[in-house]
């Protein structure tokens, strides 16, 4: 669970870096080339399977654990828990649900279309590229899509701000000196990821 989580956390950064290419460079081909590389390199392809495995494990474990947890208290309290706790940790399964919905849409929109060939293709220097950059730009001209996208990332942020540091604790990594550092890192990471992803549609929409 925690290992898969940390793995996904790393992936998010990589993915964000590539996405940011769309707004950093005016030339859509920078992004398209990067995307092409990500989908054609053999190593990355292997890694893709690992990534899916990680995600699947994360989800499956989450479901098993959640069912066990619900089962551990068959009768709930009438007055909800008011304990002073890590707030977002109480809603991990809920934020996870929202993120999952987003992921499914995301896959339908980009990943599967690329894989199964429904996207626009362009020729550059004799190589066929999916013109994803243009598609992204087109999508983010629609306000509902922008809102949905940003909202999903805010929920991802909620998920991460607890998940990041919790993963360390589950791995047994807790230390007087370093745990506050991990927590600070979790906060910075979350802000960077949410801001990094959200800035893309905003920039495109207002351009």
């Amino acid at each position: 669970m925690s290992l898969a989580g940390i793995f996904l956390i790393t992936f998010l950064l990589v993915h964000m870096g590539i996405n940011l290419l769309v707004i950093i460079f005016d030339d859509p081909m920078v992004y398209n080339r990067a995307a092409h590389f990500m989908s054609s390199n053999i190593l990355i392809k292997i890694f893709e399977i690992v990534l899916f495995g990680g995600l699947l494990l994360h989800v499956i474990f989450a479901l098993i654990l959640q069912v066990q947890n619900w089962f551990a208290r068959p009768r709930r309290y009438n007055k909800a828990n008011y304990s002073n706790t890590s707030f977002f940790s109480k809603f991990m399964i809920h934020t996870a649900g929202i993120i999952l919905v987003f992921l499914i849409i995301h896959f339908i929109d980009f990943y599967f279309r690329v894989k199964f060939g429904h996207s626009t293709m362009i020729h550059v220097d004799g190589v066929m590229y999916h013109d994803l950059a243009t598609e992204i730009v087109d999508k983010f001209k629609l306000l509902p899509f922008v809102i949905f996208y940003i909202a999903a990332f805010i929920f991802l942020g909620f998920h991460l701000i607890h998940g990041f540091q919790s993963a360390f604790k589950t791995l047994g990594l807790d230390h007087k000196k370093y745990t506050p550092v991990v927590q600070a890192l979790a906060f910075i990471y979350t802000v960077v990821v949410v801001a990094g992803y959200s800035i893309i549609p905003l920039v495109i929409y207002f351009k």
Partner: protein, 245 residues
């Protein structure tokens, strides 16, 4: 002060329970929460009604027998205390107080506010000890122990086994209880000898008994009357991985 009480009443496991409302007048703010319940019970007995059943014994916060869920908090709104140390001055005149039993699958209901916490005993029986027979001990000062570790071990050993951690946890997990025992023993050279076996057996038993999983939410630490720290949970995880490899 005058109070409205909303207390969970359940005759036994066969009967479904329900909340019953009571009103109490002229309670001294200096009385303890359990003394307030004593007063209620005196009134109930006088009216030929059955008193509210709850566990308690030492009434000084150390035996771990008392425990109830008060207004969304195990052991009530104050921190670092058990119910028996909670005083009515923490409430306001006219307050409504909702009192529920600990709720967890591993703590089956007995009656009213009394639950069966023998799962904790089962856990200790599974390995929460040092296997040393009476009479076979070397001189107490033979093995020096670093003060820092002795103190950390004592921090964990302060657990009173009341079950507030399980009651507070949204997953009814016993990780803090088990973490405290594993930490207490594994931090000391005497307990290190069988640390691997101990942690594996305790974790397996914890799962078997139907406690939930830890999501590092921290409600256990927030509600623990003895301030047992969540670092003990991380240490439990660490000891568990150590034992696995």
């Amino acid at each position: 002060m005058n109070l409205k009480l909303k207390i969970w009443r359940q005759k036994d496991t066969q009967n479904r329970g329900k909340f019953v409302n009571y009103e109490l007048r002229d309670i001294s703010p200096d009385s303890s929460f359990l003394e307030m319940l004593d007063i209620l019970n005196e009134q109930l007995v006088t009216r030929n009604e059955e008193p509210v059943v709850f566990d308690d014994d030492c009434r000084e916060g150390i035996c771990g027998a008392c425990g109830m869920y008060i207004n969304g908090h195990p052991h009530g709104p104050d921190t670092l205390i058990t119910v028996c140390q909670l005083h009515m001055r923490k409430f306001k005149n006219g307050d409504t107080i909702v009192i529920e039993p600990w709720r967890a699958r591993a703590f089956p209901m007995i009656k009213d506010l009394m639950v069966d916490r023998s799962a904790f005993d089962t856990l200790i029986q599974e390995g929460g000890y040092v296997s040393v027979n009476t009479g076979s001990a070397p001189d107490a000062n033979n093995i020096p122990i670093k003060k820092e570790f002795a103190e950390l071990s004592m921090d964990a050993a302060a657990c009173i086994g009341c079950g507030a951690c399980v009651a507070a946890c949204k997953n009814a997990s016993a990780m803090l209880f088990v973490g405290a025992k594993v930490s207490h023993l594994s931090l000391l050279p005497q307990g290190k000898v069988e640390a691997r076996e101990r942690v594996k057996r305790l974790v397996a038993m914890m799962d078997k008994l139907g406690f939930g999983n830890c999501t590092n939410t921290g409600a256990c630490e927030a509600e623990c009357p003895k301030g047992i720290n969540m670092t003990n949970i991380a240490r439990l995880n660490r000891e568990y991985y150590k034992a696995a490899f």
